[in-house]
């Protein structure tokens, strides 16, 4: 700025002055500027200083918002004043020019107020009294005086500069202060800028916490650290608070090297924590414990292998898996949180992936072997379950089936039919698919199997019978079939499991063996019965002795009662022995019957003997035994006496029957021996013929040698047996002995052995010739033995008939004698001598007693002569006895009457003998059963015819009261026929009723029905009820025949509702549906297959149809 006046003053004072004024104004501006700058610097310095001070105060004091606000407001006001003073006022009120002039004059010596004058005088220039010129001169002078002066120098810049320096100083100081407390200062400044904000004074101790807020997996450990600064205390407090809780739990933690550390192991739950140390409390931090996925529930679903047919099983408490191999196991695990992935991890490294649905895992695996596995889960945030439970997979074994042979359940023998009836029971956990018989013939034979068709394949338990036919096994007598039953289960996955029975042997015994064993058994039975008979006699004697003692002593002593008890025990033992005998007899019969050693007649006889033996133990005997037992406990001797009498009386009958049984059994035994010999010889012949045929058919002789060897052995045995039989059996005309001689002469065993050697040597022709000759001879001898059998039976029959004939005659003679006695006793004209008559009666009585004995003997030879046949005779004897007594007492009339009664009884006995003879003559077997059946059949036939006639007359008009007016005789004739049939039936019942018991007893009602029908028909009353009644009659008669025949073989049968029986037949129909059996049809099919033209085929078909038809109407076999 140029503030110096120009050197040449203007000519115009005004101008000069103006220039001066401008100069002064410039000085004034400079001055104002300096003042402003200086003021500004001061203001700023003050501001900075105040700020520094304030910051300092704030740093220390943490002023409350109110204080801060007031302070700031005051400072602001102060600042405003300062700004007014230092900034505004210099500008607003600049220095006057006069002051400026004086400032300049003060800066420059020598001016002497020239400038002031110049400024002041100007205003007075025009004032009165003021010299203008003077004024001008002063102005000029001032101008001139100051012309060279630097007006600017008049302005003192020092204060401004000083202010500037102070400002700089203050700034520097402030900066330094800030540098010294960088945080504090800034913080304080920050707080000051927020005068309303409340700020807390910083603590002495500062804590730095790690990890602060964090997330971890439940179960993980957590390391908490607090680093202290400032005032570091010796220990710190770790405070935790569980979610939802308001209380903190504190843990003292020592502070070492400014660090407080604490480790929380296995954090399970989320919590909040904070540290406290000295005056510091850290902020609360949140630790989130994120749970690992775990299995909450486990469901195991078992789908068993199809073969087990087990239903699915669901185990809702799933865990370890225990299942059959092949079972599909589906695990369904529900986790505690949503899953992203899951799998089953097996210990062998196998991983079975599962499917995940929300929080549920489903995984399936097949049980193959024992294993262990864990269920692995991964949740949606990637956390896996830790330490999962190890589950086990246990494999259950499909146990092999068990099979037990129920029948025979041991070693057995083959019967004639070569059939082995087997009953077995199989059990398996799931089912048996098949059963087979594994067998071999003899120890060294090849292993073979025979399948068994199961009735219920696949059933877990079944009991089944099977008939194993060994007829095709070419067994030879003496061969053994070693077999076992083998069952296979239905396990198609790991099986089949196999179960086996132990080995059993079924032996093909020779007939000789069977015969010998059975004979022995029967001998034993006979011996046993004889012993029983003897014991029974002794027992009877003992009881009679006791009875006498009781009578004599008029009281039963303790010894008597003991005797009775002992006797009764013996009686029971006897009865048991008889039962045993029955069983032994049954067994022997069955064995021989199975082997075909017995003819039906002999079987029938044995059956009768068996019945007799059974009937020995009568209920009456039991009852009386019990009565005596009861009486023995009583004191009353009369009761004991009475009971003993009754029992001994029954024992007599028992004894009699027992004797008869033994006698019959012995007779049967002989017949049985003949039967067996005949069967064995027939078998020998048949086998020999088979061998011959086999050779003829080209079979190698060597292969037949073993069979021939058996023949040799058997024929040798047979020869011995025949020899023994010839000695013991009294065959007619000594024919058995002759046959024995023939057999020996024929040298059958030797020739058989020679033939065997020829076979073994491969000599075909000689073998064949030898076998053929042997077969012929054996055939002949078998025929001869069968003839002897028949002759023997006939001989027995004849003997019996002769015996019965004699009995018949003698009974009639006695009857006539009684008739005479009766007549003589009744004669009034010539009264007989009573004594003489009595003697005669005595003789007759003795004769009757002998007759009774003979009848008893006869009854021991045939079942057709029942002991009851002697009832008439016994009655007669009783009457004769009475008659004798009456004669002795002179009561002749009464004696005559009794003699007549005796005559009737004798007549009855004679009739019984006659009937028995008639029955024996008619009976094929002389035993009676067939005879009875034949008679019943004949009666049924007549009833059938009668029924047809009756039905034929139904609806036809019946001329009442005119019998015989209809063809065939009309209803009265039918009535008579019905009555005749009734009589016939009654005769049958009378004759056989005692033997067949209830079966014929059932016919009693039939007889009544017949009577009713006869009555109705006799009254010409033919209606539907009559016809129905006739039909019922016939049905019952037919049924009775069946029942009786059946009862002959089984005493157990009764008509009753049948129990369900499982199907045991073939599983399927035969492929030919049974239609191919007719050879004509087979030929027809063959012919039709020849592709003849249609018309020929028609003719062929007609031809064969006719042939078939003709064949069909061939007379049927009865």
């Amino acid at each position: 700025m140029n503030t110096s006046p120009p050197t040449d003053p203007p000519t115009d004072t005004a101008e000069t002055r103006q220039q001066l004024i401008r100069l002064l104004e410039r000085v004034r501006s400079r001055h104002t500027l300096m003042a402003t700058l200086g003021g500004g610097a001061n203001w700023l310095s003050g501001l900075v200083a105040v700020a520094v001070v304030l910051i300092g105060i704030e740093s220390v004091a943490y002023l409350a918002p109110a204080k801060k606000t007031v302070t700031l407001l005051m400072l602001g006001l102060l600042g405003a004043v300062a700004a007014f003073v230092w900034l505004y006022r210099p500008l607003r009120r600049p220095m006057s020019l006069e002051a400026v002039a004086r400032l300049v004059e003060s800066a420059h010596d020598g001016l002497h107020q020239h400038l002031t004058n110049a400024v002041q005088l100007w205003d007075l220039r025009d004032a009165p009294g003021t010299s203008r010129a003077l004024v001008d001169a002063a102005i000029r002078q001032a101008y001139e005086t100051t012309g060279s002066l630097d007006f600017a120098a008049a302005v003192d810049t020092g204060p401004a500069k000083a202010s500037g320096r102070r400002f700089a100083l203050v700034c520097v100081v402030g900066l330094i202060a800030l540098q010294l407390y960088p945080g504090h200062g800034i913080d304080a400044l920050a707080r000051l800028t927020d005068p309303t904000g409340r700020y807390v004074r910083p603590l002495e101790t500062r804590l730095a916490v790690t990890p602060g807020d964090t997330v971890l997996i439940a179960g993980d450990s957590l390391h908490l650290v607090a680093e202290a600064s400032g005032v570091v205390p010796l220990d710190a407090l770790l405070q935790t608070r569980e979610e939802g809780s308001a209380n903190w739990t504190s843990i003292d933690v020592p502070v070492r090297e400014n660090r407080a550390e604490h480790r929380l192991s296995s954090v399970r739950k989320s919590f909040t924590y904070r540290w406290r140390a000295h005056d510091a409390t850290s902020p609360a931090h949140v630790v989130i414990a994120r749970p690992r996925p775990v299995v909450l529930s486990l469901t195991t679903r078992y789908r068993y292998p199809a073969y087990t047919r087990l239903p699915e099983r669901v185990d809702r408490e799933g865990g370890d898996v225990a299942a059959l191999v092949g079972t599909a196991v589906t695990l369904q695990a529900r986790a505690n949180r949503p899953l992203s992935d899951a799998w089953l991890a097996f210990e062998n490294g196998t991983r079975v992936p599962g499917t995940v649905d929300g929080d549920t895992l489903t995984a399936t695996f097949n049980v193959e072997r024992p294993a262990r596995f864990t269920i692995r889960l991964r949740d949606t945030v990637g956390v896996e379950n830790a330490d999962p439970i190890t589950y086990r997979v246990l494999t259950l074994e499909d146990a092999p089936p068990e099979i037990v042979v129920l029948r025979p359940g041991g070693d057995s023998e083959l019967g004639e039919q070569m059939l082995v009836p087997l009953m077995f029971e199989t059990t398996d956990d799931f089912g048996v698919s098949r059963v087979e018989i594994a067998y071999r013939v003899n120890q060294d034979g090849d292993a073979q199997t025979h399948p068994v068709t199961l009735e219920s394949p696949g059933a877990p338990e079944q009991t089944q019978g099977v008939i194993w036919d060994l007829s095709g096994a070419n067994l030879l007598p003496g061969d053994q079939v070693i077999y076992r039953l083998r069952a296979y289960d239905i396990n198609t996955l790991t099986g089949p499991g196999v179960g086996e029975t132990p080995e059993f042997i079924v032996r093909f015994p020779s007939l000789q063996e069977i015969h010998e064993a059975a004979t022995r058994s029967q001998d034993d039975t006979v011996a046993q019965l004889e012993e029983v008979a003897e014991q029974s006699r002794q027992l009877q004697e003992k009881l009679e002795n006791v009875a006498r003692e009781v009578t004599k002593n008029e009281e039963a002593t303790w010894e008597d009662r003991a005797e009775i008890r002992e006797a009764l025990a013996q009686q029971e033992a006897l009865q048991e022995q008889i039962d045993e005998g029955v069983r032994a007899l049954d067994e022997a019969r069955q064995r021989m019957e199975q082997s075909g050693l017995l003819t039906p007649e002999t079987v029938e006889k044995i059956q009768q003997v068996r019945s007799l033996m059974e009937s020995l133990n009568t209920p009456e005997l039991d009852r009386l035994t019990q009565d005596l037992q009861g009486a023995a406990e009583e004191i009353d001797p009369e009761m004991i006496q009475e009971a003993i009498d009754r029992l001994t009386s029954e024992q007599e009958a028992f004894q009699e029957n027992l004797d008869r049984t033994i006698a019959l059994l012995k007779r049967v035994r002989d017949e049985q021996m003949l039967d067996a010999l005949s069967a064995r010889l027939r078998d020998l012949a048949t086998y020999q013929r088979d061998i011959e045929r086999a050779l003829k058919d080209g079979k190698a002789p060597e292969t037949m040698a073993e069979r021939q060897n058996v023949q040799t052995r058997e024929s040798d045995h047979f020869q011995k047996a025949l020899d023994e039989a010839a000695q013991s059996i009294d065959a007619p005309d000594n024919r058995l002995a002759e046959l024995t001689e023939s057999f020996e002469k024929a040298s059958i065993p030797d020739r058989s052995d020679q033939t065997r050697r020829d076979m073994r040597a491969g000599r075909k022709d000689r073998s064949q010739t030898g076998a053929s000759d042997l077969a012929d001879d054996l055939d002949k001898m078998a025929g001869a033995l069968e003839d002897i059998q028949d002759a023997y039976r006939q001989q027995q029959k004849d003997e019996l008939l002769a015996q019965l004939s004699g009995l018949f005659r003698d009974a009639l003679d006695l009857s006539r004698s009684q008739e005479r006695t009766a007549e003589r006793a009744s004669e009034t004209d010539r009264p007989a001598d009573p004594e003489q008559l009595a003697r005669k009666q005595t003789r007759d009585l003795n004769a009757a007693a002998r007759l009774e004995q003979r009848m008893t003997d006869a009854s021991r030879k045939s079942f057709l002569v029942p002991p009851q046949a002697g009832n008439g005779l016994r009655n007669a004897m009783e009457q004769m006895q009475k008659s004798m007594g009456q004669l002795q007492r002179g009561q002749q009339n009464q004696a005559g009457k009794n003699a007549r009664e005796a005559m009737a009884g004798l007549n009855g006995a004679a009739m019984a003998m006659r009937d028995a003879m008639a029955a024996i003559r008619a009976a094929g077997s002389a035993t009676g059963l067939d005879e009875m059946l034949q008679q019943l059949a004949a009666a049924s036939d007549r009833q059938g015819d009668l029924n047809q006639q009756t039905e034929g007359m139904m609806g036809q008009p019946q001329p009442s009261g005119r019998p015989g007016s209809q063809p065939g005789g009309g209803l009265p004739q039918l009535s008579a026929e019905q009555e005749a049939i009734r009589q016939m039936l009654n005769d049958i019942r009378e004759k056989f009723g005692a033997q067949e018991g209830s079966a014929l007893g059932d016919l009693g009602q039939v007889s009544q029905d017949m009577e009713e029908v006869a009555r109705r028909l006799g009254r010409n009353q033919l209606d539907a009820p009559t016809v129905e009644r006739q039909r019922r009659i016939l049905s019952r008669m037919l049924d009775a025949q069946r029942s009786i025949r059946q009862r002959g073989y089984s005493n157990d049968r009764e008509a009753r509702t049948g129990a369900d029986v499982a199907y045991r037949g073939p599983g399927t129909l035969p492929s030919d549906l049974g239609e191919s059996g007719n050879p004509l049809r087979a030929l027809l099919r063959d012919a039709l297959r020849q592709n003849y033209p249609d018309e020929y085929q028609t003719l062929i078909r007609r031809y064969f149809d006719r042939l078939i038809e003709d064949a069909g109407v061939a007379p049927s076999q009865p």
Binding site: Q1046, D1060, V1061, A1062
Partner: protein, 229 residues
Amino acid sequence: MTFRLAAVLAAVTCLTGPALHAQTDADITADRADLLTIARLKYQGGGDWYNGPTEIPNLLAYIRAHTPIRTATKEARVEILDDAFFSYPITYLTGHGNIRFSDAEVRRLRRYLENGGFLIANDDYGLDAAFRREMDRVFPGKQLVELPPSFDLYRKPFPFDALPKIHEHDGKRPQAFGIFHEGRLVVIYFYESDIGDGWDDPEVHGDPPEKREAALKFGTNTVLWALTH
């Protein structure tokens, strides 16, 4: 005129009735020709062919109640040589005793069976030998083959695992035999079962209800088989 009108009306009723109406009591008691019945075969030989008079009526009633088949209430009775013999698609033979067919009967029975007839035979005990003998005459060479439970007759409409055993007889297992002609079952023979007695009124034999039910069901199966094959 009145008679003619009545006859026409009756004929119309007979022809349309079955199609228009369900079977009513009135219908079934009428035993009309359009109702199924089973003919009891009268035979010679002495056997009681008439045995069990309530068997067939009961079986017919059961069929009527359990199937849509319209059956009569009574049995028919027929001899092989009767003119009406061929009118009955199903015949029933039972009894205890002997059977004897004449040559003419043998021929006619065979023709009947070969041409669609069906014979149900029931051994009431004692019939077996005679029946087999006579059947051998009717169909020489054809065998009575045992019908296994796999045979469809056992299945429909009532399933069976085995032939019911109604009466014990000889205690043997019950068997159903059949004779086939050109693949068709023409004779069924019940042996050791006495299924016929199971059809009788309950008081006749005192059989338990379940036995009777089983017998009637199997009888129904048999009749249905005969009608549909």
